[in-house]
């Protein structure tokens, strides 16, 4: 192509411009060929590994927190719920570029402008905020902690570069102290402490999701980039059998009584007789779950963790065993002495009996230790031990609250000389409040024991509700035995009975006081008492068992009837009325608790008196 012009240039004795331009073009083409080869290398051959590194640089993964399931009461009232909260974080390097324009005028910029703007929205001190931004070394600090998503949205709308959210969930306990020990606690960490939060942790916890996306140089999401969202799976909800109204009421009543009596602590348990469901499990003192820090001591759930000697309420076991073993009947006459030497020790009652001529029913209703020993000693050691175990003492209740202590029913081999006697009236063994209540639930439920449960059902993340099954009951005593014992216990909490403070007006209540010697761990010896009252009502068709226990009362009284009786009556009345249980329309049938020792003994030859056949301390004479 260049040939036409080459001759012209040659005439002038200089190089041919065409040839030189061709050299330039050729050189450029060689360079372009190298460039093309380099492009093939970069975009084709080496692209995969380089691109992987590039994506690595851009990819960002963000954890999407899963919402923890709610804990509600039996009516769906929230007891523990997750709320969305936001920590606002700041990168001072980016904040420096902030400018705030209003009507075309620059009204603020940089650290001070940003601090002022954030302060206006959050109500924080602008000087503090500015100090946080300006003193931060590196590129990250919390600016404002724990704000609502609404506040964060307002902050976000300010458009301050370098201000980012850190979303988290905060656990809220709307009913505070009254339910605290039952529910347990979830602080800033994800690990639950105590209560239902701990035992149902796996169910309540969801699976956090993950959002993967590509970000640009300023942290913006690249809209055309890779975006993979693994949504969080929220945790399931747990519905408790607790009636929060009743629990709150019980807690309130308990708090007043514990304070009045200057006692150490107390607990109120309410159980539904037919299902074994726990309707109330209040412990005083509770703790304030809104405090950001808790001690394990403060969160201890005494209602299942405290074990103590039950005292007289355990006489019900001895009585049931004696009835079941055919040792006594309701009206079996007993001669109650003032003093009773057994096992090298002389036993006596707290109050000397008004009359020694008491029936079996009278002995139980007046809670006579002497009388109990007189019929109880007819039981073999092993029989007594087995009956205690059969009622669930010495075995954790299975309620499913953490830290439950099963208590101890000592094996026969380890008994001392006095063990068999003290065990009959509830000293020398230990159990928790739940186990003792369970004995009364058995009586209330015609002799069928149903293990206590506190979870009514669960709702999964799809909203499907599954009711928790009611555990199968186990017959412990005959219906007849339970009927007999109920008749006797009805005589206790009446306005004319031994525990008038526990009477509930309009209802027939069966129950038993207990004033147990309390072993004080701190002192290392017995000191003061555990004052309790356990009962059920209405006694002809029991709906609830209520167990009130107050530890170490120091004022007013130390007796169970006086201290715990009023709380029992208060809670039971509220529970029955709330459940709409009709009051009794007939007066309580009278039961003779004493007898005339000279009266003819029925079923015996003529002339044999009740006094003759009565259980008495034969060994006292001999």
């Amino acid at each position: 192509m260049a040939r036409r012009q080459s001759s012209t240039a040659a005439h002038h004795g200089v190089a041919h411009p065409q040839r030189r331009v061709r050299m330039l073009l050729l050189g450029t083409m060689i360079v372009f060929s190298l460039f093309a080869a380099q492009l093939v290398r970069l975009q084709g051959l080496d692209a995969a590994t380089v691109s992987a590194a590039a994506i690595d640089e851009r990819l960002k993964q963000v954890i999407i927190p899963a919402t923890r399931g709610a804990i509600t009461d039996v009516n769906g009232e929230p007891l523990a719920v997750d709320v969305d909260r936001v920590h606002i974080a700041v990168d001072p390097v980016n904040v420096a570029a902030y400018e705030r324009w209003e009507d075309g005028e620059l009204v603020g910029s940089g650290f001070s402008g940003a601090a002022q703007a954030v302060a206006e929205v959050t109500g924080e001190d602008p000087e503090r905020l500015e100090r946080v931004i300006s003193t931060t070394e590196g590129r990250w600090a919390y600016l404002v902690k724990d704000v609502s998503p609404e506040v964060w949205q307002q902050v976000k709308d300010l458009g301050i570069p370098g201000v980012t959210p850190e979303e988290f969930h905060h656990r809220l306990y709307p009913l505070g102290e009254s339910h605290a020990k039952l529910l347990g606690w979830l602080g800033a960490g994800e690990a639950p402490a105590g209560g239902v939060e701990l035992t149902r942790h796996d169910w309540l916890t969801g699976t956090p999701g993950e959002r993967t996306f590509e970000i640009g140089g300023n942290g913006e999401v690249i809209t055309t980039g890779t975006a993979v969202d693994t949504p969080a799976v929220d945790g399931g909800d747990v519905r408790l059998s607790i009636d929060s109204d009743l629990q709150w009421y019980a807690y309130d009543a308990l708090e007043k009584r514990v304070e009045e009596a200057k006692a150490l602590s107390g607990y109120v348990l309410v159980q539904e007789v037919e299902t074994g469901r726990i309707v109330t499990a209040a412990t005083y003192p509770g703790f304030d779950p809104s405090d950001p820090e808790q001690t394990s001591e403060g969160m201890r759930n005494d209602v299942v963790e405290d074990v103590y000697e039950p005292g007289s309420t355990a006489k019900l076991v001895t009585a049931a065993a004696a009835l079941e073993e055919g040792i006594v009947e309701r009206d079996t006459p007993i001669v109650v002495p003032y003093r009773l030497p057994r096992g090298g020790k002389t036993f006596k009652d707290a109050h000397d009996p008004r009359t020694p001529w008491q029936t079996f029913g009278g002995v139980l209703a007046t809670s006579s230790n002497m009388g109990t020993i007189l019929y109880g000693e007819k039981l073999e050691d092993q029989q007594l031990h087995d009956w205690l175990r059969r009622f669930g003492l010495g075995t954790p209740s299975g309620l499913g609250l953490p830290g439950e202590s099963g208590g101890v029913v000592p094996p026969v081999e380890t008994w001392s000389r006095t063990s068999r006697y003290t065990l009959m009236f509830g000293q020398g063994l230990s159990s928790n409040a739940l186990q003792q209540m369970s004995v009364y639930q058995t009586m209330a439920n015609d002799g069928v024991r149903i293990p206590p449960t506190v979870v009514e059902g669960t709702t999964d993340d799809q909203g499907r509700y599954t009711a928790a099954p009611v555990p199968e009951g186990e017959r412990v005593v005959s219906a007849e035995t339970s009927q007999t014992l109920t008749e006797i216990l009805e005589q206790v909490p009446t306005f004319f009975g031994t525990a008038p403070t526990a009477a509930v007006e309009g209802y027939h209540v069966a129950g038993k006081t207990s004033t147990a010697d309390r072993y004080d761990d701190e002192l290392g010896r017995y000191s003061r008492t555990t004052a309790s009252f356990i009962g059920y009502a209405p006694s002809d068709d029991p709906k609830y068992v209520v167990a009130v226990t107050i530890q170490r009362p120091t004022e007013i009284s130390q007796y169970g009837g006086t201290i715990s009786g009023p709380v029992f009556a208060d809670v039971m009345r509220y529970a029955l009325q709330k459940a709409g249980v009709a009051p009794a329309d007939e007066p309580l049938p009278e039961l003779e608790l004493t007898y005339d020792p000279k009266a003819q003994a029925p079923g015996h030859p003529r002339g044999v008196t009740l006094g003759d056949i009565a259980f008495s301390d034969e060994r006292a004479d001999g």
């Binding site: 192509m1 260049a2 036409r4 012009q5 012209t8 240039a9 002038h12 004795g13 200089v14 190089a15 041919h16 411009p17 065409q18 030189r20 331009v21 061709r22 330039l24 073009l25 450029t28 083409m29 360079v31 372009f32 190298l34 460039f35 093309a36 380099q38 492009l39 093939v40 970069l42 975009q43 084709g44 080496d46 692209a47 995969a48 590994t49 380089v50 691109s51 590194a53 590039a54 994506i55 640089e57 851009r58 590509e214 970000i215 640009g216 140089g217 300023n218 913006e220 690249i222 055309t224 980039g225």
Partner: protein, 422 residues
């Protein structure tokens, strides 16, 4: 382009008798209008690709800065409009007028370049090569390249018989003309532009026929000069180190950020690209995505076909310029066409080489493609010059004006179509 021509040529009835497609294309390429249309087509394609890719590459940053993704693009479009109008006007400027404007052009260029140091001037990214007039910024060095080409062509054409004597070759083209301009640009620390101007001046002397022995001397001087200037700046030394050393294993290594992100962009694009608009690196990652590094974004979005097309279009522009040089009897036309060719190609080589890591990062825009008003307008004016030179080829002007309708003129680009079809 060749295949397209072939298909068009062979699909139409032809008179004189039918030829093979390849022969027809060859024949057309030898026609006097071919350089004109090749310049027109390649420049138009580059500007079009440039506009589309400036829009894509600048959209993110534009949105962040102004709230509109189109802000940079609209400005660029306006400059392209101005540039095209100027190119159209200049393409019709007779050769004699170009020669007349040579000296005034140089004087204006020197004056504007000097104005950079007046209160009108300003800095941008460490380079003092801007002046601000009426709210608009202007980079006089871009226009100085055109002035240098026209001035050089005029002077060297007159001296073609005495070009063998070095004094004639250097005065007045190099001394004082080119030296003055380059000196001012270097004083403004714009090494990239200075290198292009050195290439233009040296290249034109080379084309004009300056004996090769002088290039050995000048080459050493230039290399020494560049070395001296580079060593005088830590920034430049670092760029050279990152180029030669195999140190850039990650963008976080000092001085590697831009180079590695350019590689990332090209690798992301791969063989076929992520698709128009889908660049990742333009999201505040690769600096200057719509400017010096637009080729990386082209490669990322349009893949290897995109980046190779850009190379091909510059090759076509180079070939068309060569054809003008080869076909013209006029020394001025020869030198002017060669000057524009050296300008466009050297700048393209520097730019593309920077982006693909084969040259240190110099910081020159890709001609006709990159964002930047002054550069685009100046480059389009250069294309106007090239078109004017193409029109001056024997037979071209006649071939173009001999056809009344624009359609026919366009069709004349395709052998046989113009006559045979009608």
């Amino acid at each position: 382009m060749t295949t397209q021509l072939t298909r068009q040529g062979s699909s139409r009835p032809a008179d004189p008798p039918p030829r093979t497609g390849l022969a027809a294309a060859g024949e057309w390429l030898r026609s006097p209008v071919a350089p004109y249309y090749l310049v027109l087509a390649s420049a138009a394609a580059l500007v079009s690709i440039g506009l589309v890719m400036v829009l894509s590459a600048s959209s993110v940053r534009s949105y962040v800065e102004t709230g509109s993704s189109y802000d940079v693009f609209v400005t660029q479009l306006a400059y392209a409009g101005v540039g095209i109008l100027l190119a159209w006007g200049l393409s019709r400027l007779p050769v004699v007028w170009w020669k007349r404007l040579a000296l005034p052009g140089l004087l204006v260029a020197v004056a504007l370049q000097a104005a950079v140091f007046s209160p009108l001037g300003g800095d941008f990214q460490g380079n003092r090569n801007w002046i601000f007039i009426g709210g608009r910024s202007l980079q006089p060095s871009e226009f100085a390249k055109l002035a240098l080409v026209v001035f050089g062509a005029t002077v060297l054409a007159r001296k073609r018989k005495v070009i063998g004597r070095v004094v004639h070759a250097l005065v007045p083209f190099i001394l004082p003309g080119a030296m003055l301009l380059i000196g001012l640009v270097v004083a403004g620390h714009d090494l990239g532009t200075a290198m292009i101007m050195v290439a233009i001046a040296g290249g034109m002397l080379f084309v004009a026929g300056l004996p090769l022995r002088w290039f050995a001397v000048v080459g050493l001087l230039v290399a020494g000069g560049i070395g001296y200037l580079a060593a005088g700046s830590g920034n430049r030394m670092q760029r050279i180190e990152t180029w030669l050393g195999d140190t850039c294993t990650s963008p976080h290594v000092d001085g590697c950020f831009q180079k590695v992100h350019a590689e990332y962009a090209l690798a992301d694009g791969g063989w076929w690209g992520l698709g128009l608009g889908a660049s990742r690196e333009k999201w505040s990652l690769l600096p200057e995505p719509h400017n010096d590094f637009i080729l990386a974004i082209i490669g990322e979005e349009l893949g290897l076909p995109g980046s190779l097309t850009v190379l091909l279009l510059f090759a076509v522009l180079g070939y068309a310029s060569f054809r003008i040089v080869a076909d013209t009897p006029y020394p001025f036309v020869r030198l002017a066409a060669a000057g524009v060719m050296i300008w466009m190609l050297s700048q393209a080589v520097l730019n593309i080489g920077s982006v693909i890591g084969m040259l240190p990062i110099v910081g020159v825009p890709l001609p006709l493609v990159s964002s930047g008003g002054s550069a685009l307008v100046a480059a389009l004016m250069g294309i106007g010059l090239l078109l004017a030179m193409a029109r001056s080829l024997p037979g071209c002007s006649e071939a173009l004006s001999g056809r009344s309708s624009r359609l026919r003129r366009t069709l004349a680009a395709f052998p046989g179509a113009g006559q045979g079809g009608r």
